[in-house]
C-alpha cells in the first residue's frame, strides 16, 4: 500500500514539475472538441446530434495522448528497471502508475465535460449522463491503455503503434459511453448502458494490472 502511494506520489510529482502538464490533456480535449464545429459548421441542431460522439472520441484521444508517458520515460532512462528491482510486486507499481495517469488525464475531463457540452448546446439531463459515463469510462481507458503503453515500450514510433493497438479495445467503451448519452437524449432507458460500462470497469480492474505488469517485465528483459 505504501509503495502504491509512493508510485502515485512520484508520478504526480513528476507531472507537477511541469506545471503545464496537468492542464494539457484537458486543453487538448477542449481544443479537439472545438475543432469539430469548425470543420463541420455551426448548425446547432446538427452539433447537438453529434455531440456525444464527438465528446467521447475527444476524451478517448486525449487519454491516448498522455498514455505514452505512463512508462516510456521511465523505460528510457532505466528507472523502470530500477522500479522492477525494488522489493514490490510489479502489479502494485503498475496500478499506481495507472491511477496517477487517470488523475492527470481522466479526472479533469470528467470535470470539464459539462462546459464542453454547453458549447454543443446539450441540456442538463444529457450533461449529467455524459459526466456519469465519463466517470465510469475514463478509468477503463486508463487501464486498457496501460497494456498498450507497456507492450510498445522501447519500440520506436511506439506512441503511434500504441494508439493502433489500443483503439480497438477502446471501442466498446466508446459505444456504450456515447450510446448512453444519445439514448438519454431521445428518452430511452440508460441503465443497460451503465451496467455494461460498470462491468467493463470491474473486469478491467480485475485483470489489467496483471497483464500490464507482465508486459512491462517482458519489455525490460
Amino acid at each position: 500500500m505504501r509503495a502504491l502511494l509512493a508510485v502515485i506520489h512520484r508520478d504526480l510529482l513528476l507531472v507537477m514539475r511541469r506545471k503545464s502538464e496537468v492542464l494539457t490533456a484537458l486543453f487538448f480535449f477542449v481544443v479537439v472538441t472545438s475543432l469539430f464545429p469548425l470543420g463541420i459548421g455551426a448548425d446547432t441542431a446538427l452539433l447537438r446530434k453529434i455531440a456525444p460522439g464527438v465528446i467521447w472520441v475527444a476524451a478517448l484521444l486525449s487519454t491516448l495522448l498522455g498514455l505514452h508517458r505512463m512508462f516510456a520515460a521511465d523505460y528510457q532512462d532505466g528507472a523502470l528497471e530500477q522500479l522492477s528491482l525494488s522489493p514490490q510486486s510489479m502489479v502494485l507499481l503498475v496500478m499506481g502508475k495507472i491511477i496517477a495517469h487517470w488523475i492527470v488525464c481522466g479526472l479533469p475531463l470528467v470535470l470539464l465535460a459539462p462546459v464542453i457540452g454547453i458549447q454543443f448546446d446539450l441540456d442538463a439531463g444529457s450533461l449529467s449522463v455524459l459526466v456519469a459515463t465519463l466517470l465510469l469510462g475514463t478509468p477503463v481507458l486508463s487501464l486498457l491503455g496501460s497494456i498498450g503503453a507497456a507492450l510498445t515500450l522501447g519500440v520506436r514510433g511506439g506512441s503511434v503503434l500504441m494508439s493502433l493497438l489500443i483503439l480497438p479495445l477502446y471501442i466498446p467503451v466508446l459505444i456504450f459511453g456515447a450510446g448512453a448519452v444519445y439514448a438519454n437524449s431521445v428518452g430511452l432507458d440508460t441503465s443497460g448502458h451503465f451496467s455494461l460500462l460498470g462491468a467493463l470497469l470491474i473486469l478491467a480492474l480485475a485483470f489489467v494490472p496483471w497483464v500490464s505488469a507482465a508486459a512491462v517485465k517482458i519489455a525490460i528483459e
Partner: protein, 245 residues
C-alpha cells in the same frame, strides 16, 4: 529627457514601477467608479434587450483589452528577441496572464449575455471563435514558458510563439469569418447592437479606460514579482530595503 536604455534595466525599472503602480490603481478606480455609475444609473434601458444589455459595459472593454494586450505582449516579446533585453521578456511574461484573464472575461460575459439574447450560451460565430482561440494562444504561451526551466530559453521560445501567433490571429479571424458566412447556422444571426446612445458610449469608454489602467497596474505588479524572482541573486536585489533584514 529620460534615458530609455537605463530604464530598460530591471534594477532601475523596479523602483519606478513601484511608484507607478499606485497611480494606475487610482486611475483605474476613478474611471471604474465613473463608468459603473454611468452604466447603472445614467444609461437608459435598451429598447430591445431591456436591462440585460448592461453587460456590454464590461464585455466590450474586456474583449478589446484581450486583443490589445496580445499585441503589446507580442511587441515586447519581439523586442526581447531582437535586442536581447531582459526587461522586455519579463514584460511579455507578465502580460500573458492579464490578457488571458481578459479573454476569459470576454468569453464569460459574452456567454452570459448570449443566453438571454440568443437563447444559447455559445454559437460558433467568427468573433466568438477567434476570441476562444485567442485564449488558447495565451494559455499555450503560458504553458510553454512554464514548462521550460531554463529562463533564457523559455523567453526566446515564448517570443517565437507570440510572434507566430500575431501573424496568425488575423488569418484565423478572417478564415472563421469566411467559413461562417459560407454556411451560417440558421438559429441565430448576430445583429449589431442598436445605434449607441451617447451615454452608453461614454460608459463603455470609461470602463475601457478603467480596464486599461487596471491591466497596466496588474502588469506592473507582476513584472515586479518576476524581476525579484529572476534577479534574486544579484547585488541590487540584496540591497533593496524590502529584502534587507
Amino acid at each position: 529627457m529620460i534615458n530609455w536604455f537605463k530604464l530598460s534595466s530591471p534594477s532601475t525599472f523596479y523602483p519606478v514601477a513601484g511608484k507607478l503602480i499606485p497611480i494606475f490603481w487610482t486611475l483605474a478606480a476613478g474611471f471604474g467608479l465613473a463608468g459603473l455609475w454611468i452604466s447603472f444609473f445614467v444609461a437608459p434601458v435598451d429598447a430591445v434587450q431591456g436591462q440585460g444589455y448592461r453587460i456590454i459595459f464590461i464585455h466590450v472593454p474586456a474583449s478589446w483589452m484581450s486583443m490589445f494586450i496580445y499585441l503589446v505582449m507580442a511587441a515586447w516579446a519581439g523586442l526581447s528577441l531582437i535586442f536581447n533585453t531582459r526587461l522586455s521578456a519579463m514584460m511579455a511574461q507578465a502580460l500573458a496572464p492579464v490578457g488571458a484573464w481578459m479573454a476569459f472575461l470576454s468569453l464569460w460575459t459574452g456567454a452570459l449575455w448570449g443566453k438571454p439574447m440568443w437563447g444559447t450560451w455559445w454559437v460558433w460565430d467568427a468573433r466568438l471563435t477567434s476570441e476562444l482561440i485567442l485564449l488558447f494562444l495565451y494559455l499555450g504561451f503560458m504553458a510553454l514558458q512554464a514548462s521550460i526551466d531554463n529562463r533564457r530559453r523559455a523567453d526566446k521560445a515564448g517570443a517565437i510563439l507570440a510572434l507566430v501567433g500575431v501573424v496568425n490571429v488575423p488569418i484565423i479571424y478572417f478564415s472563421v469569418k469566411w467559413w461562417n458566412t459560407l454556411h451560417q447556422g440558421a438559429s441565430v444571426s448576430l445583429t449589431k447592437a442598436p445605434a449607441m446612445v451617447q451615454t452608453m458610449l461614454w460608459g463603455m469608454l470609461l470602463m475601457a479606460l478603467c480596464f486599461w489602467m487596471y491591466s497596466i497596474a496588474v502588469g506592473l505588479m507582476r513584472v515586479r514579482a518576476i524581476i525579484l524572482e529572476r534577479e534574486a541573486h544579484t547585488d541590487w536585489v540584496r540591497q533593496l530595503s524590502e529584502v534587507k533584514n
